[in-house]
Symmetry: C2
């Protein structure tokens, strides 16, 4: 197993998107226009975790169905992915899944425990433990193919964003054995056993890429790589031990579909995450978009209303959302989103008003 | 209740420290020299959470004693505060306590639940709930006075750092009712009910300041204000709704003892936290000290070895610790520390070697 792939170095412009979609219902999609660096008919909006916890229709559907089962049933995946599109008229759908779905699909013994998160039966801490991680084949996730195909047909003019966890974030769950605040075992393995780390990240990069590939092959119009926990690393560790593997995943889709790259608390990492591959760089709520633009000039940015703001009265939500639009003015293009996932306590009516507000204020 | 105190604007140099301590055993303390902006005989070292979980002698002493009880028994406080000083020969002791001790002392119904953290019986979410928060009187924490006096006598030439949670971090526990990942209720209250927020923060600032005052009056040589969760806020919210109250606490000690101001994930807030009051600014492990120095030029910095690094083999720990020293070279002075608290799994022998390494490499 090699120590690391070559970094792609440059970001390929997604020049082909508009052409590819010209004859399809996606032509003129505000989301795809923004991904291509153009200010289209309006600023597009979608919300991370829009499919899920905040929606009563989601909670009703999920009643009695464990998380991982819901991700493996094409009918549920389609319905849950569609719910926020119907309710909010967002400009993109995000494929409903979970970060650990591809691991489950290759036979890793894990479960998502309500109130806890993913729990791994046999954490990965030695070379022998890597045997759990065989490559992901399309047949392992035929339900994903089926769901994406059905979704693309049903979505019509609304693009579908493919979803996957980045190698580092997957590694944290595997090494820690579950969710963690400090990610201390992961960091210790990364720094203390670089050969084992590289072997682990190589396998995870292949799995993450294969999971996205299935979605793109079935018709997803973009991908978002979620490196949720990358922000726990100082930049030099991210650069040495994480970026090459994320670049490997993202490089596979360069010039094919727009690639969104996102992590939480990654203000110090924005330049590195952009270099690793990002037609659109997701920014969490801690860094104003104009400041993010100073760190990664000329980049299309996605974000970044603090999800907690949606719990405040509407006048506050409106002020903060308009503040995000103001901060995005100097960008080549902007994909409006939250700076992290929708909170379970958020009133869907507030998100609906946010969509209307952004559309109304940015209509061109 | 007013909306906010005036910001002090300037940071008063702690010119009096060296004079005050000249005739006392603290004269020439590397820690106090560094706090005053001077490179003394060596770079001082101490570790956040050095008193506690990683030490077998601490775990033995705490057996069967609940956390809050251990903080209220002067004999235990003295012993636990001393343990790391004896073992590591660190350059400063940090007063053993917990962030919620002053709240407990004024009668807030709370407990520290093992494996969970502080749990508040009646969260503060309305003006009526503020009645729980009366001012802290020295008599409420006579055990603190007693313990600090005993410690100062026993510590001799090693300075004692006073300990308190900052108003915002205290507020998060009170509003959420316990530990939280998103701090969503706190943010919603802060933005949605600014009058209530100000009233809450005003009371907490007074409590936090009074808790530190007791320690300083009894002989503590410095204070550290822990705003552990400030990093969950965008800077403009920190500036408007948090900084004035932290400045009120820290301003009280300006020119009296050195003030260390610290929070986790505060890379975006360093300038604001420095402005709020910091003779020494604590930096978490995400921002290299040379980069932090670019954000707050001329400032004495404390930090910032990633605590997770201490779980790696010694050659990695050594390389990373030396990297911190290198990054600190351009500072007026540097207080070596971790970038967050000692992890329970850390081998105390490793911390001891870190102290020796820093002392040896910086001896002047």
């Amino acid at each position: 197993m090699s120590r690391g792939p070559r970094r792609s170095g440059t970001i390929d412009a997604v020049t082909s998107t508009a052409t590819d979609t010209a004859s399809r219902p996606l032509a003129g999609s505000p989301f795809l226009e923004a991904c291509a660096g153009r200010r289209g008919s309006r600023t597009p909006v979608w919300f991370m975790r829009q499919a899920g916890r905040a929606l009563p229709e989601y909670r009703a559907l999920r009643e009695g169905v464990p998380m991982l089962e819901s991700c493996a049933r094409p009918d549920m995946v389609v319905e849950i992915t569609m719910q926020p599109v119907r309710r909010y008229a967002v400009d993109a759908a995000i494929f409903y899944s979970d970060i650990v779905v591809p691991l489950k699909a290759i036979g890793v013994d894990l479960d998502i425990v309500p109130g806890v998160g993913p729990v791994i039966a046999h954490p990965v801490r030695s070379a022998a433990d890597l045997a759990q991680l065989r490559p992901l084949e399309p047949d392992d996730v035929s339900y994903v193919t089926e769901a994406v195909r059905a979704l693309v047909a049903e979505l019509g003019p609304t693009p579908l964003i493919g979803f996957a966890g980045a190698p580092f974030t997957l590694a944290t769950y595997l090494v820690e054995g579950g969710p963690s605040k400090e990610h201390a075992r992961t960091k210790a393995l990364m720094l203390g056993e670089p050969e084992l780390w590289s072997a682990l990240m190589g396998r995870l990069a292949a799995i993450s890429a294969a999971f996205l590939e299935v979605q793109v092959e079935a018709g997803a119009s973009a991908v978002q790589l979620f490196d949720s926990w990358a922000g726990v690393l100082p930049r030099r560790h991210y650069d040495a031990h994480v970026a090459p593997w994320s670049a490997q995943v993202l490089g596979r889709f360069a010039g094919r579909v727009p690639r969104i790259h996102f992590g939480v608390g990654t203000g110090e990492l924005l330049g590195s995450m952009a270099d690793a591959g990002a037609d659109v760089l997701g920014v969490d709520f801690r860094v104003p978009l104009d400041e993010a633009a100073r760190r990664v000039p000329g980049r299309v940015l996605q974000g970044n209303l603090d999800p907690a703001v949606t719990l405040a009265p509407w006048d506050v939500v409106e002020r903060e959302a308009l503040g995000v639009l103001d901060a995005a003015e100097g960008l080549p293009a902007h994909v409006f989103n939250l700076g992290h996932g929708v909170l379970p306590a958020t009133d869907p009516g507030v998100l609906q008003r946010v969509v209307e507000l952004v559309h109304e204020r940015t209509a061109r």
